[in-house]
Symmetry: C2
Subunit: 218 residues, 2 copies
DNA sequence: ATCGCGTTGTGAAATAAATCACAGTGTGAT
DNA sequence: ATCACACTGTGATTTATTTCACAACGCGAT
């Protein structure tokens, strides 16, 4: 159990949410093509993904839903809940904060930071807002390993540096700049503007070229 | 000028913003390795991207910044501003709304929709909020070709159907479900939970494996 | 029991994307 | 005027990811 492609990690997260819904419907088994339809992929890809994580189904019944959830949990979640720190309580930061409160039990935003005196000291989405110059201290003391950068592009690098100094190992970056971080820190960029411009491009060009659209409708 | 890889489209959007900053600094030329450093890619990739869009620089001075911006504009933007419709004025929807107001001149969110009586009729981020059952009519009348889905997963498919019925050709989807749309509609998914879980995974595993981190420091 | 069908697991092939590496070129220094 | 250097443009190569395609399997029907 070693090298799992980056793309597969993403899909596992997706599968898990789908499987959660199936579980709520009391489904005990799924076939690869069911998950393919639900996740927007292909059956072969679903099977390949489960092969790479070493989960095996039965040709007759398909995959056991609970078993799948269990192995994905083991894969993606750590043994205990991972605390997250979020910097930038603007519109976007607040959206992420409220969106995440209580959503994934294993991931919890435990500290937020901002430089606006009106926000510091308050509780937003059940999460205390600290002064931004406390990032390093709080991150270190709370053993936060995951940071969210939701500040304007101009200050994103500075914030990332603070997070890294505090000991963060992974950053979810909403700012449209390439963060420079040490090699052992992982950065995932989520660039809304870029995604919007991609959509605009394909909407204009007639999306025939777009690779994203595998689904069709009756 | 025909087939441009999906990934390249995304990077062009990124380059354009970087070039905008350079322009503001009165820089007239850039080298591929400058853009590589600024965008978090490699010099070879930058050159390849410009090759695929058919822009050519000079070995001595590099690429002309204005020329690049111009060709990227031609590539990504249409001749006139493209109106956008956004459904779901929750935390996320509001964040996108305010974030986009006046940011990209060629993309303008002209209509928002919600089912909350407290929101309908108001102006949020300079954008009127309509009743959600007017999506199809308003989209058609305003000739909106781009839709943003920022509603809970349970109703995302329904909303997508309305947008498509109104004539939308591309959708930016924040809901964590695979939307089923006709083949000629492009869907770009932006899944915050998935991205967060990827970060959590690599933060836990020691990101040695992560592909994202090309940048280093010090 | 036995057969047939639909599904899994997976090597092999295809496709997509990134990187290498180097010839060609123009500029500034001498 | 000539030279050396740094950079571009790009064919070739490598690497990553997806898809194909088929053997193996086990259940349900007969």
């Amino acid at each position: 159990m070693a090298l799992i492609p980056d793309k597969t990690i993403g899909r596992l997260s997706l599968y898990r949410r789908i499987l959660g819904r199936l579980l709520a419907e009391r489904r005990t088994h799924v076939h690869s093509h069911d998950l393919a339809a639900l996740s927007g992929g292909t059956a072969a890809q679903v099977r390949r993904d489960f092969m790479t994580v070493g989960y095996t189904g039965s040709p007759a019944r398909g995959y056991d839903v609970q078993g799948l959830v269990k192995i994905i949990d083991e894969m993606l979640d750590g043994p205990d809940v991972q605390p997250i720190g979020l910097v930038g309580v603007g519109n976007l930061g607040r959206a992420v904060l409220t969106f995440f409160s209580g959503r994934r039990p294993n991931l919890k935003i435990v500290a937020a930071f901002d430089d606006d005196p009106d926000k510091v000291g308050r509780l937003i989405g059940g999460c205390p807002v600290h002064w931004v110059n406390e990032v390093e201290r709080v991150v270190r003391e709370a053993r936060i390993r995951i940071g969210v950068v939701a500040v304007p592009a101009e200050v994103a690098q500075k914030v990332a540096d603070l997070l890294v100094a505090g000991g963060v190992r992974g950053i979810l970056n909403f700012a449209p700049v390439a963060l420079r971080v040490p090699r052992n820190v992982y950065v995932e960029d989520l660039d809304v503007t870029m995604s919007m411009e991609k959509v605009a491009y394909y909407a204009r060009m007639g999306s025939a070229a777009g690779q994203e659209e595998r689904r069709d409708e009756g």
